[in-house]
Symmetry: C2
Amino acid sequence: QPRVVTGLALAKSEARVTLAGIPDRPGAMALVFSKMSARRIPIDMVVQNVSEAGRAEVSFTVPQSDLADTLTAAGDAVAELGAGEVLSGTNVAKLSAVGSGMRTHSGVAAHMFQALADCGANIQMITTSEIKISTLIAREKCEEALQAVHRAFKLDKPTIEPPGV
Amino acid sequence: QPRVVTGLALAKSEARVTLAGIPDRPGAMALVFSKMSARRIPIDMVVQNVSEAGRAEVSFTVPQSDLADTLTAAGDAVAELGAGEVLSGTNVAKLSAVGSGMRTHSGVAAHMFQALADCGANIQMITTSEIKISTLIAREKCEEALQAVHRAFKLDKPTIEPPGV
Ligand SMILES: C[C@@H](O)[C@H](N)C(=O)O
Ligand SMILES: C[C@@H](O)[C@H](N)C(=O)O
């Protein structure tokens, strides 16, 4: 692997919130995010995949200290949408590989995911951008996973960056 | 809105591929992405949300010209995993808002999604990073949606960037 991956980031103080079964119609996400914005909740990793049978699901991570507020705002959104449920998880950590030109290297994702598999870390969520591949894994596995991915990309030393990355 | 959003990007020549019902166990994603990497398929927007009942779903976008190859590789992955199905869609376009400090502005997402709702563009997928909010919408809506989001953020003029962004 050329030095495509220049660093890793681990955020261990986030929680995951999921709104499942929400109506897949224009305006639904605007409502959800306006509820979050009204409470100034800093949203991190947002993931919405394609819907099935008219029902969509969105997950995002927030600082664990904002979880109670987020669940209230999510409950408001679901009530106004007239459908859906709110789920959450706190035993999570976000492990990201950071570097330039990730997109053209689908091998980088395969390499990272294989390192996670080899240490038994199950991937719960994935988002990618040109400069980053982020995964959500169980918090109790995150230190071991950080070391495993670190070795896989032959980086000098692990960095545990603040959740701002 | 302060000038958090500095530009928009529209990619109109991508296709979406979804692997649904795949086993939620370590190694599944490594296998999927190694099949893509072996065929040098440039993967764009990857989205995996939390699984249900042990079955996960991953979607990603690829250049439309690589769709046939991608479907073959995805079929191989599903066959080796022993479970799942491959779905795809070509009437899609990726519309992204680009800027710095997006994460602390959950209002930016609400603002963008409201502009999409107002022009009747239904959001099919969402991924976010610190510098970008990306949505997948129907291709026939994408020009109108670009203009709508453009007005919402009071930008000077729309930019249609190559899919590389
Ligand atoms: C599910 C949600 O994304 C919906 N399709 C919307 O446009 O808001
Ligand atoms: C579904 C997939 O992400 C699986 N959990 C894995 O770790 O590969």
